[in-house]
């Protein structure tokens, strides 16, 4: 206790020991200890098991599907999310406030509900599946279906990161550029877009991270064919159902490591972009 006291600044406010104690023990019991147990179980499995999973075509295909489609979905969200944020901040049109509050729907709607709704919408007899089938696109039960589900779950991230930056954007910059004779497209590209880029990339990263781990909305629409439309979280569930705990922990650990490496890479890229822009 004395050691803990000396760590913090002198203050009259009470409750440091109590609240930090509650925080650390609750977080430790519910999050840290269980995750550590997972890492130990994975380490227990040994290199042979790691290598076996890493070289299994089914695991590799699941990683390709999960990370590849999550990246594509985040990219689509980066483009359309920026357009939506721009339209919501800059233009007046009927229903704008309603649309703005509906953006968060994918955060609020349970993923299983989103999953069955999207499946019904894009199946061969669905409202959107039928016209798509007419032009030869099979959406449900293929990787296209996974893409649709992941665009849905990631939709709010880019909109909600870009919106505040646009609201704070100093419009005098656009006026100065216009006074100096720049055309509107040139102003958008050279004046408005560069400061938005870090926010777009943050949104991309968040949407990507969410999409990689997503389970509920994907499994209904994916068809779940091993090697073709099976995602990593589903593969983990399959291994658990077969009581292959070692396999499940190894895949879960690989997935966590891969996501952290990718997030780190995107964060570094973002830091580099910020530096290049001088702030």
């Amino acid at each position: 206790m004395a050691a803990v006291r000396s760590l913090r600044q002198q203050t009259v406010i009470p409750g440091f020991g109590l609240t930090l104690g509650i925080t650390l023990s609750y977080l430790g019991l519910i999050v840290i200890l269980p995750l550590c147990v997972m890492f130990f179980r994975a380490a227990d499995a040994g290199w042979v098991k790691f290598w076996a999973e890493l070289s299994s075509p089914r695991t590799l295909a699941a990683f390709r599907v999960s990370f590849g489609i999550a990246c594509l979905a985040a990219f689509i969200n980066a483009i359309f999310g920026s357009v939506v944020a721009w339209v919501l901040v800059r233009y007046e049109f009927p229903g704008r406030r309603l649309v703005d509050s509906l953006i968060d729907l994918p955060f609020a709607l349970p993923t299983a509900v989103a999953g069955i709704a999207l499946t019904s919408l894009y199946s061969a007899h669905g409202w959107l599946g039928q016209p798509l089938a007419a032009v030869g696109v099979k959406a449900a039960f293929t990787p296209v279906g996974i893409l649709i589900a992941l665009v849905f779950v990631g939709l709010p991230f880019v909109v909600r990161t870009v919106e505040p930056v646009l609201l704070d954007f100093d419009r005098e910059l656009e006026e100065s550029a216009a006074m100096l004779g720049a055309s509107r497209p040139s102003i958008l590209w050279r004046v408005v877009f560069p400061p938005l880029l870090p926010a777009v990339m943050t949104g991309f990263t968040l949407a990507f991270a969410r999409a990689v781990g997503e389970y509920g909305s994907v499994i209904f629409i994916a068809g779940n064919v091993p090697g073709y439309s099976e995602i990593v979280p589903l593969l983990i569930v399959v291994k658990l159902e077969q009581f292959d705990y070692a396999g499940a922990t190894v895949i879960a650990t690989l997935m966590l490591v891969a996501s952290f490496v990718l997030l780190l890479a995107v964060n570094l890229l973002q830091a580099w972009t910020r530096r290049r822009q001088g702030g």
Binding site: L7, R8, Q9, T11, V12, I13, P14, G15, F16, L18, L20, I22, Y26, L27, I30, V31, P34, V37, M38, F80, V83, V84, W86, L88, Y91, S101, L102, I103, D104, F107, L109, P110, T111, A112, V113, A117, S120, L121, W127, V151, F152, F157, R160, E175, A178, M179, R184, L206, Y215, G216, F220, V232, P233, I236, V237, L240, Y245, A248, S259, L263
Partner: protein, 299 residues
Amino acid sequence: MVDLAPAADVAAQEPAPRIASPLPLTESFAARATLVGLALLFLVVFLILPLVVVFAEAFRRGIGAYFAALVEPAALAAIRLTLMTALIVVPLNAAFGIAAAWAITKFEFPAKNLLITLIDLPFSVSPVIGGMVFVLLFGLQGLFGPWLDARGITIVFAVPGIIIATLFVTLPFVARELIPLMQKQGTQQEEAALMLGANGWQMLLRVTLPNIKWGLLYGILLCNGRAMGEFGAVAVVSGHIIGRTNTMPLHVEVLYNDYAFAAAFAVASLLTLMALATLALKVWLEWRAGPRLARTRLH
């Protein structure tokens, strides 16, 4: 008036200065209409149609079938379990959120940023992994499995497992809302209350809680929405025992996989109404609390 006339003449003779033409401060009407149309098309396809299809499918067999699906014993058991889970999980995570925000914002100590990152961790872990870790801990082949089994305690494939997995997934919501808010508010008001003779609990109840009430409600609202709707983590630990360990989202899955589509969408429509109510309350809280909410909207 007379003075102005020659000046106007001069201006008329000279070529129009550039400044007189409208500055390109916004896009042309055609460009604006195209962008609005594109954004709305995207949102209709990805947000509005899924919402509408839930209700269309739920009522496909008529109102009678809709309500029959909701009062069926298995559906009622699922509704009860979901409400009970939320009723246990949300107060626990709210209490944790207040304690964590208190420790982090009112005191200085080393590795604080690490602690904040660790609190956020459940958001960056796949919900499936959130369920799996408890199978590894409490399952029959798990770390404490044999010990629990010898004493006749079941956690995994039972209600306690569902609750603890939901605790994991929704842990950050309240803390995340309160930390930036309390950071902004500082410690002056609490210090003043203590100087005036309040004890710790009086200060908490009369000064701190009223100050953070909107942020707290906001965090509780988001935490509740996720607790009632969580699927991946709960699916792993529940075992899908109908009538006993099926929450509403799991019941939707069971019905859907049994091709009872209308019934599945009927239960799903209740969850959708819950989501819409959450969004409506969220907008109301943002309007009511105004700047007294921390502006971190990324859950």
